[in-house]
Symmetry: C2
Subunit: 323 residues, 2 copies
């Protein structure tokens, strides 16, 4: 059977037709979100892309097994209402009801979820966490995003804003976070945090008259410390080790709290690949509860930007959970 | 219908007959655990107390709707095997199978769970978290224990040692914890931690020649700082405020991770009652995600030592979850 997953981003709307047995994206299309326009127009574009894709593949919209939307912000998956998505100016926006009407296929169920949760569900269905019942997907980008799957079901808290692992404090009274707290994991383990640590080290080296090859970096990014560390720079290695120590701290917390079978790591920093996992594992093992070794497998997320589409397409089972 | 809950502790085995509609403990008996003896003898005593209670109340053991055991350590609730309970020297001990045989009532199902999880389930069924679907129970005693209920189901990780909220790091590189990590919440929010903070403040006052009424305390306990703070002592208030700040930090983490409807606080420190909640709430609200107010209700746990018995008796539904 075919299902459609829609990844609604601040910049683009990406729509994919997914084979729900192989999880393959058969056909994918996207269009700019143009976030400032009216929500009805955004949903109209979603419906149009759904129809176009179905036409081109030769599937009747009425024969779809389901349609799912991955949205930023706070989404109530039970009612299909986006309670708040600031970038899109959605406020109590009943997206599934509107999309269902615009699709005009009344027997096709339409679902919605938060985008980080949908991406975690995508990784659980078809990516790094495939085959696991309980998993967490952590995205290391501008912030630290997260989605948690427990017994084959997406974890939703009482107000649908749960799973904010990035906003668990790991350093009491630490660096101020955009969320209002101090010392959040996000402030130490996002790509943004790695850039900050790199810049701090460069300034520290300048002030101390210490040479580091990072002084020659044309522009500091999340890769600067990693690249220069691998080329043998000591100061870069200090930045990388510090970053990895904080990242491992949050990962150990997740393991102690959830004992997931798999933690999948996505986002820009995950481009470091297996070497990131290899750096983390000795620290994660050394900090496990009561001298145990971690039974949770750390993996690099495999679906990239497709995780949201696949997770959204497969929402029906992710909202229901295991039988 | 009647069910039996057994709270297996390091010191005592407490057995209660529970009405599974009212959650009332109809009859309760206990016997010393004598933890050093053979496990078969411990289970024999459990079965004996079950029979005695049933006889005295006039219920046939064969008519029980179920029996549940709350055990310390790592318990696999699916197989009913205690994988490890160090104090009891249990190692892969199939407690439900043995207890079922000793009860000789083969149609009565026997369940087992970790004691903190069973207590959290008890509070969810009949105590502070009654009526909620998602809740956490945090016990502030020698350590910080915790159990998490999600959608009416006890949270079990892949190796049945999940929900160790006490061992989430909230102070990177902080105080060494018995678990091997540094900066665990338990090291700042247990009764043990409050005693440590109180002793530190007394020493600090002595060294600085500063008066505090706590100097006259015959023995420092978890109540010393609270009592002297209420009597107007400034140094005691400093200890209390510091303790509350760390406690609130962990609670905000739980809210950001799970968004439970209720967090129930039990253990020795919860004897402070509503004033503890009143101290926590302004800090919890001020640290909520993006300036929100906490929608999670903080409550003092209401069942005390009976939580384990009631939770154990009701395990069947807690392991299954909501329909």
């Amino acid at each position: 059977m075919y299902r459609i997953g829609i990844d609604l981003g601040g910049t683009n709307i990406a729509v994919g037709l997914v084979n729900d047995e192989t999880f393959e994206i058969v056909k994918k299309k996207s269009t700019p979100t143009l976030a400032e326009r009216d929500g009805m127009e955004i949903v109209e574009d979603m419906a149009r892309l759904c129809r176009e894709i179905c036409d081109e593949v030769g599937v009747n919209v009425k024969d779809l097994a389901g349609v799912g939307v991955a949205s930023p912000g706070i989404v109530n998956p039970t009612t299909g209402i986006i309670k708040r998505a600031s970038n899109l100016r959605f406020f109590y926006f009943p997206i599934t009801e509107i999309l269902a009407d615009k699709l005009g296929a009344k027997h096709v169920p339409v679902y919605a979820e938060n985008d980080a949760n949908a991406a975690a569900w995508g990784e659980a269905c078809a990516g790094a966490a495939k085959g696991s019942s309980t998993s967490a997907t952590v995205t290391l980008g501008t912030g630290v995003g997260s989605g948690i799957i427990i017994h084959g079901k997406i974890l939703s808290g009482s107000n649908y804003a749960e799973g904010e692992l990035g906003h668990m404090v790991i350093e009491f009274g630490g660096i101020p976070c955009t969320c209002g707290r101090r010392g959040c994991w996000e402030s130490y383990s996002s790509a943004t945090a790695l850039v900050r640590m790199t810049n701090e080290k460069i300034e520290e080296c300048k002030a101390a008259g210490r040479y580091t090859s990072m002084l020659n970096a044309p522009r500091v990014s999340g890769r600067t410390a990693c690249d220069h560390m691998r080329a043998g720079d000591e100061a870069a290695k200090e930045v990388y080790d510090k970053y990895i120590a904080y990242l491992a701290c949050g990962i150990n917390n997740i393991i102690n709290i959830f004992q997931p079978e798999v933690i999948a790591i996505g986002g820009g920093i995950s481009g470091e690949g297996q070497s990131l996992i290899d750096s983390l594992m000795p620290i994660v093992d050394a900090n496990m509860y009561c001298g145990e070794k971690a039974r949770t497998r750390l993996k690099i997320a495999t679906l990239g930007n497709d995780a949201g589409i696949i997770g959204a397409a497969m929402l029906e089972s992710g909202l229901r959970g295991e039988a």
